[in-house]
Amino acid sequence: MPETTTALSRAHHTIPPLNPRNPNRMAIRILINLARFAVTYVVATVVVFLFMRLIPGDPAQIALGVNATPELLEQTREQFGTNRPLIVQYFEWFGGLLTGDFGTSYVTRTDISPMVLDRVQVSLILVLTAMVVALLVAIPLGTWAAVKHRNFSGVAIGLGSQIGVAVPGFLAGILLVIVFAVGLGWLPANGWTAPAVDFGDFIRRLILPVVALASVQGAILTRYVRSAVLEVMSEDYLRTARAKGLSKNGALLKHGLRNAAIPVITVTGVQIAALIIGAVVIERVFVIPGLGSMLLDAVGNRDMLTVQSVVMVLVAITLILNLVVDVLYTLIDPRLRRSA
């Protein structure tokens, strides 16, 4: 499990563990993380910028087509800024990224930033709601499956989660549309309404895509919760607690859940980051204007500037989430505190 390993192995081997009694070390740790975040992000901008330059052809020529006159081409290149040295173009773009100004798209000829801002909100609402629902399903189901892991119900949940993980999300989405929208007519088949425009409609349109995302994410998280709780149940301190006379469930509630929460929180962070782009398939099925479909449309239009801007927003979200998960992880893991 790559991502969790990241957080764990970092905590163990590279960065001095966080110690609440030693605020200096905590600050150092956070500073190191921030520095890494900055370096990673800057390197990523260079990689993405250069990669996008591999697209064959002159953006001005592509935008104007064969019949463009040389003067018009030159004028358009000037307008796009693509006639300047690469390094100048990079720093201009990078400066824009820092100030939140992504420039004007060559293709749609509109400002990219306001559109990205709209789309980020849509994606975050969709993904965060789905993850909340997934957790609400996964925590009780996973715990139940662990506690009853020898019973039929526990095995059934385990099997159900295996299937849930294995079904492509878009298939779940298509089936939901067929059954609940087209068949039963309970909910809209697709589309998006901003919450500020019509909150009731916003909710109605949110339900199916959220269920589609949450069913798969719920299955993934259920597996995590189950194995985390199973693991905690075999811990020494839990046995000790039970030996001291606490009931099995009491011991689990008192000591276990906090420890079981640690890997689950880590995974949730990782999944949110992956889902911001991963939701693109669901966005397509439900015609939701999220970041993923913006990226896909921009790729279809070979709208280079929009593509690289959206990619960097996605990368920033991922890195920030990694950062948060890492800090959160060290804050709540008692073992790491002990080891300091």
Partner: protein
């Protein structure tokens, strides 16, 4: 397994409902402005294939004029549903005896949506601008114009360098659109025309909202607001229609989905004709299709009726080249290349091209994906091994195929009306047809009288079919599905405009 899955979904659905229920209830009461009972004043039309921006003078792609012509922009003349030229911004016109000078009398009291008054100056400005500022391949249609002269604010005289039968028709297409001199700075986002609608909101890749103009010079449309909603795939459009999110689907891209609407009297399905040919284009200037025998072999190898039946569920009609039954010079040439795999193989053998490997560049549009698989299968039967290469449409296809001519075989929906000369009378067009035989006939026909024009153009079409310059798989149907009480969706798509000016609710 499905049951298990559904159980999970149900659980999740209940959880969602529980979480969101409170919020949903509190908002439910005030907001749902009832469209039940009273007649709606808005209409939402579903389309597939979004415009990249709103400037068709510098951006290729038929989605832009489809949305804007007739609705936002108007020309001096327009085409009616049967393809006849009718007056629009010009109330009448006279043609000089040498057929080179057209004098148009303009409608009075016409304004642009920015408030500017429409005068003869705008006509001169718009026509001149085609030559100077347009970068679309369509601009060639204005090449024949020698000069545009403002006679009076309501009269304009256009002199052609030679008589042309095609020119007046062109004025009904995007090159004839009239712009206001003060409002061409940001055509990509804020188009300004004399049409009944003005652009109220434009969200790229999502929707285009038109509001009816209060100061429109003609008859106002029957709805106050029209929203064009753009979808990435056809299934989503039919789902949206079925759940009432849209009121009509223009030019449905998935005929397989029609059956559920045809049996439902809440909806009306019309299958009109269009000017769009689904082409099978072959690069005449590159091997192996620089050999006429290989091109002919391909045409013999294809069972076009089977292609139409499988790819488009039998909707549409068969034509041999870029001429539709609505064109005056149409002639049925479908018998030129009957389905004959044996003959195809003979021709290939003669050309020394048995076991031919080719690349088939397929744009990412539903019709193209649908025809490509069956075309590949039929070509395989005669020993042509075609490998499909996807090209995103429009950007990649336009760049790679249309601009750089870097392809062997491709397919595209050529929606432009009366485009046979645009496509074949220009060796630099992407098909690269050697037009030396048709150029003189075409020139003569354009300058001839009406009968001479029709005869000449028929000869042109026959020559093109003889040379197997390129194939046409079928003529695209214009399938419209609308709610039964929405009137005025155009049945046919004869020019690249989706004319929404007649919409009204029963």
């Amino acid at each position: 397994m499905m049951r298990r899955k559904n159980a999970i979904l149900t659980t999740a659905a209940i959880a969602t409902a529980a979480v969101l229920g409170l919020a949903g209830c509190s908002a439910g009461a005030g907001n749902s402005a009832g469209s039940d009972g009273e007649t709606p004043t808005t209409a939402t039309i579903a389309l597939t294939g979004t415009p990249t921006n709103l400037d068709f003078t510098t951006t290729a792609g038929s989605a832009i004029p489809q949305a804007l012509m007739s609705n936002v922009y108007e020309g001096l003349v327009e085409l009616d549903q049967s393809g006849e030229i009718q007056p629009l911004l010009a109330s009448e016109w006279t043609v000089s005896d040498d057929r080179k000078t057209y004098t148009f009398t303009l409608q009075e009291g016409v304004t642009f949506s920015n408030g500017d008054e429409f005068t003869a100056d705008d006509v001169k400005f718009s026509f001149d601008r085609v030559k100077t500022d347009w970068v679309s391949s369509l601009k060639a249609k204005m090449d024949v114009v020698d000069s545009v002269e403002v006679v009076s604010p309501t009269e304009v005289a256009v002199t052609l360098s030679k008589p042309s039968n095609a020119w007046l028709f062109s004025l009904a297409t995007p090159v004839g659109a009239i712009f206001s001199e003060d409002a061409v700075d940001d055509l990509a986002n804020t188009p300004v025309g004399t049409g009944p609608y003005a652009v109220e909101a434009w969200t790229p890749n999502e929707s285009l909202v038109f509001d009816t103009r209060d100061d429109y010079w003609g008859e106002a449309p029957g709805v106050e607001q029209v929203t064009l909603k753009y979808f990435a795939d056809a299934t989503a459009t039919t789902n949206a229609l079925q759940t009432g999110d849209v009121d009509a689907i223009a030019n449905l891209q998935a005929p397989e989905l029609l059956s559920s609407f045809e049996s439902d009297d809440q909806f009306v399905v019309t299958t009109g004709t269009s000017s769009g040919e689904v082409s099978l284009s072959m690069n005449n200037q590159a091997a192996p299709f620089d050999d006429v025998r290989v091109r002919q072999a391909v045409l013999y190898a294809l069972d076009k009726q089977a292609i139409l039946d499988t790819a488009w569920n039998g909707y549409g009609s068969l034509v041999a080249t870029y001429a539709a039954p609505t064109d005056p010079y149409y002639e049925d040439l479908n018998d030129a290349y009957p389905y004959d795999p044996e003959k195809a193989m003979d021709l290939l053998a003669e050309a020394g091209q048995e076991n031919l490997d080719i690349t088939f560049t397929v744009p990412t549009r539903p019709y193209a994906q649908a025809v490509s698989e069956i075309v590949v299968s039929q070509l395989k039967d005669v020993g042509i091994n075609a490998t499909i290469e996807s090209a995103e449409f429009p950007a990649v296809w336009l760049d790679q195929v249309f601009t750089q001519h870097d392809y062997q075989m491709t397919t595209v929906l050529a929606v432009e009306a009366r485009d046979i000369l645009t496509v074949f009378n220009d060796p630099n067009y992407y098909i690269g047809y050697d037009n030396s035989k048709i150029a003189p006939i075409a020139e003569e026909a354009d300058a001839a009288d009406e009968d001479g024009y029709v005869d000449g153009m028929k000869q042109v079409a026959e020559q093109i079919v003889d040379d197997a310059a390129s194939g046409v798989l079928f003529l695209f149907p214009n399938i419209t599905v609308a709610k039964a009480d929405l009137q005025g969706m155009p049945e046919n798509a004869i020019i690249e405009a989706l004319d929404l000016t007649n919409l009204s609710w029963n």
